[in-house]
Symmetry: C2
Subunit: 229 residues, 2 copies
């Protein structure tokens, strides 16, 4: 807990701090904090004089959340704003909040793959969804990315990487179930929402770095470097 | 195959084309192709007159590879350049080529997590590597990202998402083994190198979109939207 560190707030009691202190504790530079305030990513502090505001632990927490999304998950600021708006909405259904998180981490560009490759990929993905019993919306951002990625792999003559799609999907489903089970240990709906969103986005970084480490370990064993390198 | 479509090269025989044709077939605008040529991402065409060059299928293939890395895997152009330089090197060991691909898709920024969270994360990751028998280099980019992500999740009070790290790692290892097995169906060392690099980078996009689809399907069943939404 950071409570001890931020105990020096002036006259406002426990946990209140000036922007300089918020910057020191969070490690986020003051100009960046001011930018997040202007962009409404961070709610305003409480005014203590016409040009001074005080901040509390909710600001510190939000600031850390923003930095994790921007620095680790590499979500652009516009995407972070979209995700946080969803998170803060008292009326938006959780499923839609999750949709915002998915869009924030999914590239939405069309690729120049050949049309045969694109058709083959679409068919393969439809068959995969049917065989695994995955029900997803037709405009799910990840659906387009999956189809485009398979089409790109085929266009680049890497069909052999796509042949194991069913096995990848089975492995992916197994850890997604673990992730969802972890989130449902939370109780309040606010806690569940934040946990789902953070888990969706940072879980991506977690899985990705685990995969690269597993791969490095396997590749070091198979394709060792020559001596002296 | 696109051979039929690019049969109209002038006087150069099968598969030769002007930049306009390369643009039409690849779907990449001429100014973007010229930018890739200037940046040496794309090798120069063969000069047919002082200000006209002709391109062949190797250019088309390279262009599609660049677009897949930029558009789907969202690798910055500098990272793409680094990866392609590795791929083109006749002397660089495959393990180092893979290292370039890993760096291209791994964020390298330090995050403001608390030092206790960072220490706990470092210990947890060291224990994980030991228990799974993963040997990775101390400066592996994904190692830092994994530690920072776990530290960030703990700082954001999402410890429950980290409790299942061993299970995630086991699931991730299982599909990484499938991926590596797929790559080793290739025979020549150039083919293996390109397949490993493309598989490393686009495999990330593949796994990520599969995960989001699995998650959407599970979340739709658990947290359904209200009627009429």
């Amino acid at each position: 807990m950071d409570t001890a560190t931020i105990y020096h707030g002036r006259g406002k009691g426990k946990g209140f701090m000036r922007i300089a202190e918020l910057s020191r504790i969070s490690g986020v530079p003051v100009p960046t904090i001011k930018y997040y305030l202007r962009e409404n990513l961070l709610p305003p502090g409480e005014l203590t004089s016409p040009n001074q505001a005080s901040y509390d632990e909710t600001h510190l927490h939000r600031l850390r959340l923003i930095r994790a999304l921007v620095d680790l998950a590499q979500v652009p600021v516009a995407g972070v704003k979209d995700v946080l708006e969803g998170l803060d909405s008292p009326t938006m259904p959780l499923h839609d909040k999750i949709g915002r998180a998915h869009r924030a981490i999914t590239p939405q560009r069309q690729l120049p793959s050949t049309s045969e490759a694109h058709d083959a990929a679409t068919t393969q993905v439809q068959e995969l969804l049917a065989s695994r019993g995955w029900s997803v919306e037709r405009d799910a951002p990840a659906l387009n990315t999956l189809i485009e990625t398979i089409a790109a792999l085929r266009t680049l003559h890497q069909d052999h990487l796509v042949d194991f799609l069913d096995s990848y999907a089975a492995a992916v489903e197994s850890f997604t179930e673990i992730e969802v089970a972890a989130v449902t240990t939370r109780t309040s709906s606010d806690e569940i929402a934040e946990s789902v969103i953070v888990g969706t986005i940072l879980g991506e970084t977690l899985i990705s770095s685990l995969r690269l480490l597993a791969q490095e370990s396997i590749s070091a064993k198979r394709w060792t470097k020559p001596a002296g390198n």
